[in-house]
Subunit: 496 residues, 2 copies
């Protein structure tokens, strides 16, 4: 009892070290108040250092895992240093002197991670400034003819009107998606010129300088962003969709395999868990896809992508993938539910169910390959046909399940009287039904997933048409022609 009390009284102060070990700060009672204060201070400092250390470690890990982010940071540093030094050595370039800040500001604000975003902001900045300057000078010219008071009234009213209108335009989705930044720059420039109170000839001078500095700034940004390790929004979008397809395929495959192999110790493995939950990446990537597609539209031809590459189609494919992921989510929860199914019934359909899921994931992987290589797939029709055949087989297997419960003697003892017979059979059927329902749900969801995958297939085929993907070599094309004959009518197969 006394020992216990002592143990409670002697609380141990432990500090978690970076390596995972912990250092115990045993309180030595002899020290008294200053000792405790010292320990508390030490704990505080060590805690703070640890927090900073962890933050830096995380940042380091991020930089290590994604070196392109580090390169982007260095690019920003280079661009700013160049523009700063350019203006710091002013004597050489006196005419842009006073407006140097605009060049620096342009670089800071316009330089973005991807080429598309930088281009979009640059073009918005140039046109916003130009349009606002043009309008402001026009209004200034008119207002200049009246007295000071009326001039102030006209200035104030025009600022109010145009700022309100431009702000409103930023709420309109089509403007927001493309010209949000331009509208902001328009308001900024218009207000600045109105406030400046310069004479008209001074204004033309100012406008000339400001345009030149902005053009210098944006050109520098565009050149650096396109030449040093460029990150193209379009390529990123393309890779994101391709990667998500692979993730989705692995998720689907793993989910079904996990259910049927559950006893084999498959679950709990961290790597397979990651694979399983991969569909969550797909569910959460809508915003990224949309912004990437938005920026990609501004990009010139690069790599395998033309200027007017059908980026919108990528969004459609992404949406269809998410539809598919919703079903996998439901499937996953159905797999993880506590409903117990006897091994016998499970085994009866496990092979076909696993075949459906592996065939489906093969189709998705083939789509990913089509995207990756940007070549029309010769095997996709065959694979879709196989997938649909597997669905039919699965449905047949499911239909034959009741026989397991009603025919064989070893499973259910034959009762004596006909009345009893009927009653017991009904009970047996009820038990069987409860056993089969989780499998039925799994099957229904798998069929729904297959239907959605077919939607993905046609979206990718549409993309292949729009983006003019090349066909594969003749040999394979011929093979495709012969295999096409084997494929049964898909729409008839799709559902019973």
């Amino acid at each position: 009892m006394a020992q216990e009390k002592e143990a409670i009284g002697a609380m141990e102060w432990k500090i978690k070290m970076a390596g995972g070990s912990s250092e115990s700060l045993a309180p030595t009672r002899a020290r008294g108040c200053p000792g405790i204060a010292w320990l508390a201070l030490k704990g505080l400092v060590v805690g703070l250092v640890m927090k900073v250390w962890n933050f830096l470690k995380k940042a380091w890990d991020m930089g290590h895992n994604e070196p392109r982010k580090v390169i982007h940071c260095l690019k920003v540093g280079v661009a700013l240093t160049v523009v700063s030094l350019f203006y710091a050595m002013r004597p050489l370039y006196k005419d842009v002197g006073g407006n140097a800040i605009w060049a620096v500001m342009t670089v800071v604000v316009v330089f973005e991670n991807t080429v598309g975003a930088t281009l979009s902001k640059s073009i918005n900045r140039i046109f916003g400034t130009f349009l606002a300057g043009f309008l402001a000078i026009g209004i200034h010219c008119i207002a200049d003819r009246f007295g000071k008071d009326i001039e102030h009234f006209i200035t104030g009213f025009s600022v109010f009107l145009l700022a309100s209108a431009a702000t409103f335009s930023r709420f309109i989705p089509s403007v927001k998606a493309r010209f949000d930044y331009g509208a902001m720059i328009f308001i900024l420039t218009f207000s600045l010129i109105s406030v400046s109170g310069y004479q008209v000839d001074q204004l033309f001078d100012l406008a000339k300088h400001r345009m030149s500095t902005i053009i210098i700034g944006t050109s520098l940004c565009i050149v650096i962003t396109m030449i040093i390790c460029p990150i193209w929004a379009g390529e990123e979008l393309h890779m994101l969709i391709t990667r998500n397809m692979e993730t989705l395929a692995n998720s689907l495959d793993g989910c079904v395999a996990d259910y049927f192999n559950n006893s084999g110790g498959f679950a709990g493995d961290k790597e397979s868990d990651n694979k399983l939950l991969g569909y969550k990446c797909v569910l959460g990537s809508k915003a990224t896809e949309e912004s990437m597609a938005n920026f990609a539209r501004w990009e010139p031809a690069h790599g395998r992508f033309n200027f007017l590459h059908p980026w919108k189609q990528y969004l459609k494919i992404g949406a269809l993938m998410r539809d598919c992921a919703y079903c996998i989510e439901a499937l996953n929860s159905c797999v993880n539910s506590e409903n117990e199914v006897s091994e016998l019934t499970k085994t009866h359909i496990s092979n076909t169910a696993i075949k459906v899921s592996s065939d489906s994931s093969m189709v998705i992987k083939e789509l990913a390959r089509t995207m990756k290589t940007m070549k029309k797939s010769s095997a996709i029709d065959l694979l879709v046909g196989e997938m649909n055949n597997s669905v039919l087989e699965l449905q047949e297997d499911l239909k034959s399940l009741p026989k397991l419960f009603i025919n064989p003697q070893p499973l259910l003892q034959e009762p004596e009287s006909p009345e009893n017979n009927n009653k017991t059979k009904a009970e047996a059927a009820a038990v069987a039904l409860m056993d089969i329902i989780p499998l039925g749900t799994l099957t229904s969801l798998l069929i729904e997933i297959v239907a959605r995958i077919e939607g993905m297939v046609s979206a990718v085929q549409e993309l292949a048409k729009l983006a003019e993907f090349k066909a594969v070599g003749d040999r394979k094309a011929n093979q495709n022609q012969t295999t096409n004959k084997v494929i049964p009518d898909q729409s008839a197969l799709q559902r019973v």
Copy 2:
């Protein structure tokens, strides 16, 4: 044949009018080239006018439907006009004269739709400027002691280093969520001061002016945004979550009712379709919720919300609602699938299934009411209990389904020989099974939805605890106590 040719040759030019009517521009062959050119020009102009008209009409509708957006635009206009006139009448306020642009720029950049966003940007701007100014002047003081060349080197190197580091910090999620704008302003201010090439005493002067103009600009924005029809991010988030709950409840209810009343002409009605697809709003509101929660953290106490209101808990509730919506999505597709179920089996479970869905949606609606009134619900335990009871009933009904097929004579004729008997029974069972599986899937999904709703219930109860929702009056509390006894053990009920 000749008529056909003429019909092909005389292509009709139609222009769609605003009202939906179309005006045909019949080509009159007598007119010749100038006539055709005139018609083409007329078509072009009318088309352009129509496009602009449609755009304006859409904008008008938006403004009409969401007057708060219009008010925001007017607020921006007022703020900018005030600050512009303040500086246009410069003679009165000579000391901030040259830096007037900073005040204007601050208003343009900082003024956002919600109070939280404006506050977040204002505070970021002030601290970013302050920190960067402090550092830049410090480095400038040191560099000033060396020669011109070394000074340029130090300036360039420090700009490179700090700009890269600050850009990198913008990639770190925790920094990005709160201090993204501050990091940008830090880079901007630091580079500007480094470029300026001023003497140290000039710099102090500049810093003083710039800080004062920024403080004037941000104060103006904060005052206007908080006083004239304020839009609080926190309140918006609260209302969004509440509204989404109601949408979800209606969706769930409509989805199941639609399935069982399909023959009654329920489907196809536009309003009910909108209700059904309401869950899509929930699926797509993740980004909005996150940004609102981010801004809400900056807001002071307002209305019913304290300064440290647990906004993070709203994100948890939102995520759980999305989980629920995924299941409703699967349910909806299962409902819309072409699997035909006989009316007999449908009718057998329709009442209980509809009861489960209406009980579930009652629970969600009660949660929405709890959120709306910010008062602890006295009825929620009772409603959850009822929902679980309905699930049990549904499962019982499903279990009793096989009896429908095996017992009653009118449905399946009794065969003569025992062998035939067995065979036919197995076939009948197979048919019955195929009939039951869609209903089984529906049930499984409903059970999963119920489980997820229970997750929502505990998340809302957690919120009620964290945000100290008030309890309802004594009378109701007593009622709650008595009803609590009736509720069976929920965890046991949850699944079979």
